[in-house]
C-alpha cells in the first residue's frame, strides 16, 4: 500500500507539496487529479524515489521512500508522462535491457518479454528501432517496460495523453486487468476526468499542494448535488447567481465566465424555477442543460477552476 503523512516538498521558499496525507490500500486504483502546478507530479516523483522529500514521511509497499529507496524501486513500476525510451534500441532490446536491470535472468527476461508482447501489440515492430514508433506504440512499450519485474504497485503518469481512442481503450483494459487479476495497486495521475471516473476506485484532488477532496467518484459527485443545471447566459452574471442561490433546492452556484453551474437536489423539478430566476434578472439565457454531476463539476467546486484538458 501507499501511505503518506504530512508529506512536504519545498523548492526554495515555494512549497510545492504542503502536507499531503494519502492512504491507498492494496488492490485499489487511485486517481490523482490536479491542475498544472498543483503538486501531483512532485508527489509522484517523491513516491517513486526520484525526488527526496523535505518533510513528513511516505511508505510505498511497506518501505520508507527516504531510507529504503532500493526496496521501493524493486516493488514499483513507473510509466512517466513522457515515454522515455532510447530511440536507437529496438523495442525488444529495450525490454530485455530493463528486465536485466531489474535482475531478471536471461531466460526469465525472455519469458517476460514474450508475455508482454500481447500488451505491446505492435507485431513485427517490436524488432524495429523505437525511433520509428508512433506515440501510441511508445506508450504501450513504456507500460510494458514498467511491468517487466511484476511490481506490486504501478504509477501511471497521464498514461493515455496523446493516444487515439482505440489505444486509450486498450490501456484502460490493461489497467483494469492488472488491478483485478493481479491485485496491483494503480496510482493514476491523469488530466482526463473521464479516465479517473472510469477507472479509479477512489479519487484525490490536489490543489496548491494540498488534498482538497478525496473519495469515490460517486461520493465526490454527490457532494456537488444530485443534478447539475448548466446555464449559458449573457448579462449580469453576478445578479443571476444571487437570484439562483435564493431558489429552494439549489445547493450551490459556480460562475465560470458566462457559464453558471447550478447544483440542485432534483434537476427535473428545479429546471423551471431556475429559468424563472434567471429571467427575473433580465439575463439572456443562451442555453440550459440538465445533467448528472461529473468529476469536472467536483473539480470546479473544490478548486474554483475547470480542468483545462478534458478530451477523453
Amino acid at each position: 500500500m501507499i501511505t503518506t503523512r504530512q508529506l512536504v516538498r519545498r523548492f526554495g521558499d515555494q512549497e510545492a507539496v504542503a502536507g499531503v496525507d494519502l492512504d491507498v490500500p492494496a488492490g485499489e486504483i487511485y486517481g490523482f487529479l490536479g491542475p498544472n502546478g498543483a503538486g501531483k507530479s512532485t508527489t509522484v516523483r517523491m513516491l517513486c524515489t526520484l525526488l527526496s522529500i523535505t518533510g513528513g514521511e511516505a511508505t510505498v509497499a511497506g518501505f520508507d521512500v527516504a531510507t529504503q529507496p532500493g526496496e521501493v524501486r524493486l516493488r514499483i513500476g513507473v510509466a512517466l508522462q513522457e515515454a522515455s525510451l532510447d530511440p536507437k534500441q529496438t523495442g525488444r532490446e529495450l525490454l530485455n535491457l530493463h528486465a536485466r536491470l531489474y535482475g531478471l535472468s536471461k531466460s526469465d527476461a525472455t519469458r517476460r518479454v514474450a508475455e508482454l508482447e500481447r500488451l505491446v501489440d505492435i507485431g513485427d515492430a517490436l524488432d524495429r528501432r523505437i525511433g520509428g514508433y508512433s506515440g501510441g506504440m511508445r506508450r504501450r512499450l513504456d507500460l510494458a517496460a514498467s511491468l517487466l519485474h511484476e511490481p506490486n504497485i504501478l504509477f501511471l503518469d497521464e498514461p493515455t495523453t496523446g493516444l487515439d481512442p482505440v489505444s486509450r481503450a486498450a490501456v484502460w483494459e490493461e489497467v483494469r486487468r492488472l488491478n483485478t487479476e493481479l491485485g496491483m495497486i494503480i496510482f493514476l495521475t491523469t488530466q482526463y476526468l473521464e479516465e479517473a471516473d472510469e477507472l479509479a476506485h477512489r479519487v484525490g484532488i490536489i490543489n496548491d499542494g494540498k488534498i482538497v477532496a478525496e473519495g469515490t467518484p460517486a461520493e465526490l459527485k454527490r457532494r456537488v448535488g444530485a443534478d447539475v443545471v448548466v446555464a449559458s447566459i449573457s448579462g449580469d452574471a453576478t445578479a443571476a447567481c444571487a437570484a439562483l442561490r435564493d431558489v429552494d433546492g439549489v445547493s450551490s452556484v459556480e460562475q465560470h465566465g458566462d457559464e453558471l453551474t447550478i447544483a440542485v437536489d432534483d434537476g427535473p423539478a428545479l429546471l423551471s424555477p431556475v429559468a424563472v430566476a434567471l429571467s427575473s434578472q433580465n439575463v439572456k439565457v443562451l442555453g440550459l442543460t440538465l445533467r448528472t454531476p461529473t468529476l469536472d463539476d467536483v473539480f470546479l467546486d473544490v478548486t474554483g477552476n475547470r480542468m483545462k484538458a478534458s478530451a477523453a
Partner: protein, 237 residues
C-alpha cells in the same frame, strides 16, 4: 638533441606550445627554450595524447538522457547509482584507448622511440586513458548539475589552466617566476613526468608512481564531486 621547430603532425600542439612560450618569454617566465636538451617530438608526445583524450566522455549523451527522461527511467531501476556512471566510464575507457593508439602510431612513424619498449607503450596508453576517465568526472558533474549541453560543451575550458600551467610545452627546469611556483601544484605536471619517463627515461619507479598518484588524486576529487552532484540531482529533482 636541441629543440627545433617541429614540422610534423604531432607538432600541431607543439606550435600551440611555442605560442605559449612566446607569450611567456617576454614576461620572464621561461628561459631560452633552445637550451632544452632531448628529442622535442618525444617531449611533446604526452601533450598530444593528453589533448586528444582529455574531455572525451559521454556527458553529452547523459544530458540528452536527462532531458528526455531516460535517465529518470534508469534511476527508477534498482541498479546502484554508481553503476550508471561506471557504465559510461567503461565506454569512455574503450574510446580513449582507441584514440591514444593512432596518436602513438604517428609518433612512432615520425621517429619517436619508447625506451621502455612495447610494455611501456601499453602503460602509456593505460595512463592516458585513466587520466581521461579521472578528468571526465568533472564533466559528468557539470552534466548532472546543469543538464545543459552548452555547459557540457564548454566544460573543456576547465582543462585550460591545467594544460598550460604545467610542463606541457617546456620542462620545469626552464620555468621561472610565478609559473615555476604554480607548476608543482598542478597534477598534470606529475602525469607528464610519468609519461616522459616511459618515452625517454626507461623504467623508473618514482615518476610512474607519482604519475599514477596524480591520476588517483584527480579521480578521487572528480568522482566525489560527480557522486555528490548525482545525489544532489535526486535531492532537488
Amino acid at each position: 638533441m636541441t629543440a627545433t621547430t617541429p614540422t610534423n603532425p604531432i607538432a600541431i600542439y607543439a606550435r600551440r606550445a611555442e605560442s605559449a612560450v612566446t607569450l611567456a618569454r617576454p614576461s620572464g617566465l621561461v628561459r631560452n627554450v633552445r637550451t632544452v636538451q632531448g628529442d622535442y617530438k618525444a617531449f611533446q608526445l604526452p601533450s598530444a595524447v593528453i589533448f586528444a583524450v582529455t574531455g572525451i566522455s559521454r556527458a553529452g549523451s547523459l544530458v540528452m538522457d536527462i532531458q528526455d527522461g531516460y535517465f529518470d527511467r534508469l534511476l527508477l531501476t534498482p541498479v546502484r547509482r554508481i553503476a550508471l556512471l561506471l557504465g559510461l566510464l567503461a565506454a569512455d575507457l574503450v574510446q580513449t584507448i582507441l584514440l591514444t593508439i593512432p596518436v602513438i602510431g604517428v609518433a612512432l612513424a615520425i621517429g619517436v622511440r619508447f625506451d621502455t619498449g612495447i610494455l611501456g607503450i601499453v602503460v602509456f596508453i593505460l595512463m592516458a586513458s585513466l587520466w581521461a576517465i579521472a578528468f571526465s568526472g568533472f564533466i559528468y558533474a557539470i552534466a548532472l548539475k546543469t543538464g545543459s549541453p552548452t555547459a557540457v560543451g564548454q566544460s573543456f575550458i576547465l582543462f585550460f589552466p591545467f594544460a598550460f600551467l604545467t610542463t606541457s610545452s617546456v620542462p620545469q627546469s626552464v620555468m621561472t617566476g610565478w609559473l615555476a611556483a604554480v607548476v608543482p601544484w598542478n597534477p598534470l605536471t606529475y602525469l607528464f613526468e610519468g609519461f616522459r619517463s616511459l618515452v625517454t627515461g626507461g623504467w623508473e619507479a618514482r615518476p610512474l608512481l607519482v604519475g599514477f598518484l596524480a591520476i588517483a588524486g584527480t579521480a578521487t576529487v572528480s568522482m566525489s564531486v560527480c557522486m555528490a552532484t548525482l545525489r544532489g540531482r535526486v535531492k532537488r529533482g
